[in-house]
């Protein structure tokens, strides 16, 4: 079990801004055939603040985050927000959670819309939350996430394919 505890802040901060988490948005964590990384992809992993949003059915990123990450488009979908329904692009991404110990999500669909707050460029929706147990302690101004499963994902040495079963043993 991996647990990430939010920083202890003034409880009013959590009430005002909600539970926020650093996230690194980038292209999917897939290796091209031959096991070699594509150098041009490395610069496209961008760290930003994300809001954990239990009201979001699916994870959403801002157009600025999309531009920095240069994600491939895979679909379009209707997204209903407080301002009505918009037709949004759907892109394929990876999400990493630096300094949290939470496992990265190697491949995930994200929608792209203008977000209502300049503080964050990503809403982590219930597609991400379905992997975690989230505890929100309003009076204390803290929250924490528990993740079941194995050890946090570790980047293997260059040239090794993380999907190679011989790499991990039994």
């Amino acid at each position: 079990m991996t647990t990430y505890h939010s920083p202890v802040r003034d409880p009013r901060d959590l009430k005002l801004h909600g539970p926020r988490l650093k996230v690194t948005i980038g292209p999917p964590l897939l290796r091209p055939s031959g096991g070699q990384r594509t150098p041009s992809l490395a610069s496209r992993f961008t760290e930003t603040d994300a809001l954990i949003d239990t009201g979001a059915q699916r994870t959403v990123i801002s157009p600025e985050a999309l531009r920095k990450a240069g994600l491939s488009k895979i679909n379009e979908a209707d997204v209903r927000g407080v301002g009505g329904i918009v037709r949004a692009g759907v892109y394929v991404a990876s999400l990493q959670f630096p300094r949290c110990g939470l496992r990265p999500i190697e491949v995930i669909e994200v929608s792209c819309c203008e977000l209502p707050h300049i503080l964050y460029h990503c809403l982590l929706g219930r597609d991400v939350l379905s992997r975690w147990k989230l505890t929100y302690d309003g009076p204390a101004g803290t929250w924490f996430v528990e993740e079941r499963g194995g050890a946090p994902w570790v980047e293997p040495p260059e040239g090794m394919d993380p999907r190679d079963p011989n790499l991990w043993g039994d």
Binding site: P27, P28, L30, P32, S33, T38, L41, D53, G55, A56, Q57, R58, V60, P63, L66, S72, K73, I74, N75, E76, A77, D78, V79, R80, G81, V82, G83, G84, I85, V86, R87, A88, G89, V92, V107, E109, S111, C112, C113, E114, L115, P116, L123, G125
Partner: protein
Amino acid sequence: MEAEPSGRLSVELGYYRQHAPKWVVQKAGQYVVIKNTEVLGFYADFEAAYRAGAGTYGIEMDFLVKQILEYEPVFIVL
């Protein structure tokens, strides 16, 4: 909330709309991968479909990965 500009995947989405009535009967719930007007295949889940497309076209390329459904879902983001 405002939409981002469209245009990418318009050929693939048009091709999907053209064939969706037939696929809904035969392949409902599956994911189809389309590049231009070529159907790469039908897959049981999103990740299998995306990995097949990325393996064929590369992860830098746009290609359509779409679940075949009778009604297009509306995703709620509040």
